[in-house]
């Protein structure tokens, strides 16, 4: 299978799902993403990304039980899949490798403006 790459926003959403202590669903993820990034993001963007990640196989989802506070509508809980974990690890690895490849002292050479 062709390997899917993660976009920046997808990576953030995936990380947020991974970092969520409780069961993660749309609203919590949306709030968390906004909080973590400090950006204002529409709910539809988060939903679309979640479903897309599910289609790509990085997330799995499961409908929860009936609820009282949202007109009885069930929540969809998202969890990381094996592929999701691997993808996050891959990214992390690449990043670490690249960070290590930066020659020591290089950052000091760049004068602050």
């Amino acid at each position: 299978m062709r390997r899917s790459f993660l976009g920046e926003f997808e990576e953030i959403v995936l990380l947020v799902v991974a970092a969520c202590p409780a069961e993660a669903y749309g609203v919590t993820i949306w709030e968390e993403v906004q909080q973590q990034t400090g950006r204002s993001i529409t709910m539809s963007a988060v939903h679309a990304t979640l479903y897309r990640l599910e289609e790509k196989g990085f997330l799995s989802s499961q409908m929860g039980g009936a609820t009282a506070e949202r007109g009885g509508r069930r929540k969809r809980f998202f969890a990381l899949t094996q592929a999701g974990v691997r993808a996050l690890n891959d990214i992390q690895e690449v990043r670490t490798r690249l960070w290590q490849a930066i020659p020591p002292g290089k950052f000091q050479l760049i004068e602050p403006l």
Binding site: T42, S44, H47
Partner: protein
């Protein structure tokens, strides 16, 4: 305390079902949170804002189910695919079908355009229903119809009665010379469409808008003119045309005070130069006169817009008073009538371009062509139906309904029709220039510009599709699946053989009738233009005599023309022996008889060269002596016969008096009869005399071997002598051929329609033979096995189509005979319809039929019998 209902509904409708629940739930959850924190207004606004963000394709896309439901187009796509494959497989079948339909529809399109062009004539004037033209019925022994009234009529009607809101006279003059003098240079233009002296109310009645100038002021002063933008550009290029001047026939000068918008093509007014009416007196005194009730000139027309509520009958009631007042004793009794504007274009009696009944005939022909094309299509398609039986069987077994199979075939036909209509449009577009030329019309073929055409094309395609596709569709859909799959279906299940035969007979009857008509018209035309007219018309060039040429300079010009090498003789004359213009008819008074004769005589003024040059045969007496004015006469034999005399010799030396005694002299000679008009008319009594004031042309006999240099020399000499005139010439035989312009058009039309009918009939026959070949496959196989020769088998087909053609001939021949005799009766001198004509027609039909079906029947006869018989 709920989110906005509509936004919620929108979300439910838009978002795909498998995502709907949690998306909606999440949004509601956020809404209630916001409600607590920020209040209702903000929460609702945020909710709506959030919902709007879900309106994107990603959320709309429905989840593919595990058992996909085919989309609605899947089956239709399949129909078209199968149709395309079928068409591709049977290329010749497709070609015949498409070309047949395309040809029929191309004619349909052209005829539609022609009709819609004619029907749109002069329909753009305000209050058109109240606009009328005054016309005259002349009651003598016969009634003749003229589109005009005596010159002063319009003026007195306007003054005497209040019926008319506006009354306008317009006097036109065709073939005029317009000259522009710019600096030292003179530019000359011959305007065939001519000029018109128009009373100012003319532009109130008719809607021809001005681009420059104002109708309150233009055409009021004498010697002013307005012309169309096109004309202005032709004369003055980019210069401002206002206040420029031009001369009319080197006589009257005009100043331009206004520019008209170009006249639309669909108006019967072709004149593009309008002159102030009060200048008419300077140009033609008789036309402008208030007294000229005696004669009429069709150039003088009079239009009226009646007041609302006035009926034409009311007006016509008062008009006879004018006849009593102004023409009390005239034998030629005028009846003045009103002709509605809508009738002008369609009433041939008063010079209308085309009659409504002719338009109907055209419409019927167009309809007939399309119907036959459809019928041929049906024939071919049903003949092909058997080949589709397996497919139909399989489809039925797999659950196709009758309706679906029917629509499948309609889709297939639709494909063919679409292809055909595209081809038809291209064909029509290619033929358009010749159609415009033949019918003297200006049709353009642009569906983007013309909503009628834009509607007609798709409508035609749909109608043809259903008409041609329904019957074969029903046949195909009606197959019994078991029989069809077993291959036991035979042509018996398709039927309709006799209907098809009848159609073929009909098609061939029409094409044979047209063929006979074509042959007869061709023969008559040859007879009219090539038989002996009683004079020699070969190698004679007619040059005009410049207006206002004095008798003295006339002789100079004649002398100079005669000097040119290649010119044999020059005669000055009023007109050629056969001519339809410049003819003066008058009542003669013979010898000492007290009254004028009842018949009229055609006066042909000419000099002494005329009779020898045109080879007119003198049967008694002598030629004229050279003279400038009428001293003596030469008459023709008809003249003596009409006088009731036995021998031409008797008139010699007797006195003849013309024009109430104004021209008198002895008759000195008699010439043999010659055709002085077209073959439509009898030979008139003619008298030839010298009268230099009547001369209109130089007739120049030239040497037939050096035409080009002689023509060039003629032009040079003539132009040098008349620097302010425009040179024109005409060969006499061409002029005579022009007598038969209508017949020429008719011939070309009938040729076209005959070709079409033959082609369509041929297609029909081809369809029938393919049908027969399919039906008789087994029969032919058995016959061959039992020892039939190819010739015998061919005769099965030959017998069939010979019989059909003979029946068709039996129908066509009497109809054509009757029709062509009626047509020939328009000619006083005509050929007889001979047996040879019919023989040629049927022989050519047989030849065409043979060429059409020969190949197909040869193929059927040459087939391997084993193949035909093994399929059992």
């Amino acid at each position: 305390m709920k989110p906005p209902r509509w936004a919620d509904r929108l979300l439910e409708i838009f978002v795909a079902p498998h995502l709907r629940e949690d998306v909606q739930g999440d949004l509601h959850e956020v809404f209630y949170k916001q409600l607590e924190q920020n209040g209702l207004v903000k929460a609702r606004r945020a909710f709506i804002w959030a919902v709007l963000h879900y309106l994107q394709p990603y959320f709309f896309k429905r989840k593919p189910s595990d058992h996909p439901k085919p989309s609605h187009t899947a089956m239709i796509r399949n129909y078209f695919q199968i149709a395309l494959r079928n068409l591709e497989r049977k290329k010749s079948y497709t070609l015949i079908n498409v070309s047949g339909l395309a040809l029929g529809m191309a004619c349909g399109i052209l005829i539609f355009m022609l009709i819609s062009y004619h029907l749109s004539f002069d329909n753009f004037h305000a209050n058109a229903d109240r606009i009328y033209r005054f016309v005259t019925e002349q009651h003598r022994e016969t009634v003749s119809y003229r589109p005009n009234v005596p010159n002063p009529f319009g003026k007195v009607f306007r003054n005497d009665y209040t019926f008319g809101e506006k009354v306008a006279r317009i006097a036109s003059s065709n073939d005029v010379l317009i000259s522009l003098k710019t600096g030292g240079e003179i530019r000359k233009f011959k305007e065939d469409a001519g000029v018109a002296f128009a009373e100012t109310d003319f532009f109130d009645i008719f809607n021809y808008p001005l681009l420059q100038g104002d109708f309150k002021t233009v055409l009021r002063e004498p010697n002013t003119a307005i012309l169309t933008e096109r004309m202005a550009r032709k004369y003055f290029g980019d210069q401002n045309p206002i206040n420029q001047t031009f001369h009319l026939d080197n006589k009257v000068q005009f100043r331009i005070t206004g520019i008209l918008k170009d006249l639309p093509v669909h108006t019967d007014r072709k004149t593009e130069i309008f002159l102030s009416y009060n200048t008419l007196r300077q140009y033609d005194e008789w036309m402008a006169s208030d007294e000229s009730w005696g004669g009429m000139n069709s150039a003088m027309q009079c239009f009226v817009r009646l007041k609302p509520g006035v009926s034409p009958a009311q007006v016509e009631e008062v008009l006879p008073a004018y006849v009593k007042k102004y023409r009390p004793t005239n034998k030629n009794v005028h009846h003045y009538k009103l002709q509605p504007l809508a009738d002008i274009h369609f009433n041939p009696r008063y010079g209308g371009a085309i009659s409504k009944s002719n338009l109907w005939v055209l419409a019927c022909i167009g309809f007939f062509l399309i119907v036959t094309a459809c019928i041929n299509f049906i024939n071919l398609a049903t003949a092909q139906a058997l080949n589709r039986s397996k497919e139909v069987g399989v489809r039925k077994v797999l659950g196709s309904f009758r309706g679906q199979l029917f629509w499948q075939f309609i889709a297939e036909t639709g494909l063919i029709t679409t292809l055909a209509i595209f081809l038809a449009f291209v064909t029509a577009w290619l033929l358009l220039p010749s159609v415009n030329d033949w019918f003297q019309v200006q049709i353009s073929l642009n569906p983007l510009d013309d909503w009628r055409l834009a509607l007609f094309l798709p409508a035609l395609a749909v109608v043809v599709t259903f008409f041609a596709g329904s019957y074969p569709g029903l046949i195909l859909a009606g197959f019994q699946p078991v029989v069809a799959l077993k291959g036991k279906l035979s042509q018996q299940h398709i039927g309709g053989f006799n209907t098809r035969r009848t159609l073929i007979v009909g098609q061939f009857a029409i094409s044979q009738a047209l063929l006979i008509g074509m042959i007869v018209i061709t023969d008559q035309m040859r007879y009219s233009t090539q038989s002996d007219l009683g004079f020699n018309k070969e190698a004679v060039v007619m040059l005009p005599i410049a207006p206002d040429t004095k008798p003295i300079s006339l002789k100079t010009v004649k002398h100079q023309l005669a000097q040119i090498p290649g010119v044999k003789t020059v005669s000055v004359c009023q007109s050629a022996p056969a001519s339809n213009y410049n003819v003066w008819n008058t009542s003669p008074q013979y010898d000492n008889r007290s009254e004028d004769e009842l018949f009229s005589v055609s006066v042909k003024a000419a000099d002494e060269q005329y009779i020898p040059m045109f080879d007119l045969k003198l049967v008694a007496g002598r030629n004229l002596f050279p003279a400038d004015s009428a001293r003596e006469f030469v008459v023709n034999e008809t003249f003596t016969k009409k006088l009731g005399l036995k021998s031409p010799q008797e008139v010699i030396g007797k006195t003849l008096s013309l024009n109430k005694g104004q021209t008198t002299g002895p008759i000195v000679g008699v010439v043999g009869d010659f055709h002085d008009r077209s073959f439509h008319e009898d030979i008139n009594a003619v008298c030839i005399m010298s009268a230099s004031d009547l001369y209109g042309s130089y007739a120049v006999k030239i040497d037939g071997t050096t035409v080009k240099p002689t023509l060039a020399a003629l032009e040079k000499t003539w132009s040098d002598l008349h620097p302010d005139q425009l040179y024109e010439y005409e060969f006499l035989d061409e002029h005579i051929a022009n007598f038969y312009k209508t017949e020429d058009l008719m011939l070309r039309l009938i040729q076209t329609f005959a070709a079409l009918a033959v082609f369509i009939g041929g297609l029909g026959l081809y369809g029938l033979v393919s049908f027969m070949a399919a039906q008789k496959t087994k029969e032919i196989g058995i016959r061959k096995v039992l020892g039939s020769s190819i010739g015998q088998i061919l005769w099965i087909f030959g017998k069939e189509f010979s019989r059909l053609i003979l029946i068709a001939f039996a129908v066509a021949a009497p109809v054509a005979y009757y029709g062509m005799n009626a047509w020939l009766n328009h000619f006083t001198f005509h050929i007889d319809v001979s047996v040879g004509v019919f023989a040629t027609a049927i022989a050519s039909t047989f030849l065409i039929a043979f060429l059409t079906v020969g190949f197909k029947s040869m193929k059927a006869a040459g087939m391997n019998p084993v193949k035909a018989l093994r399929s059992e």
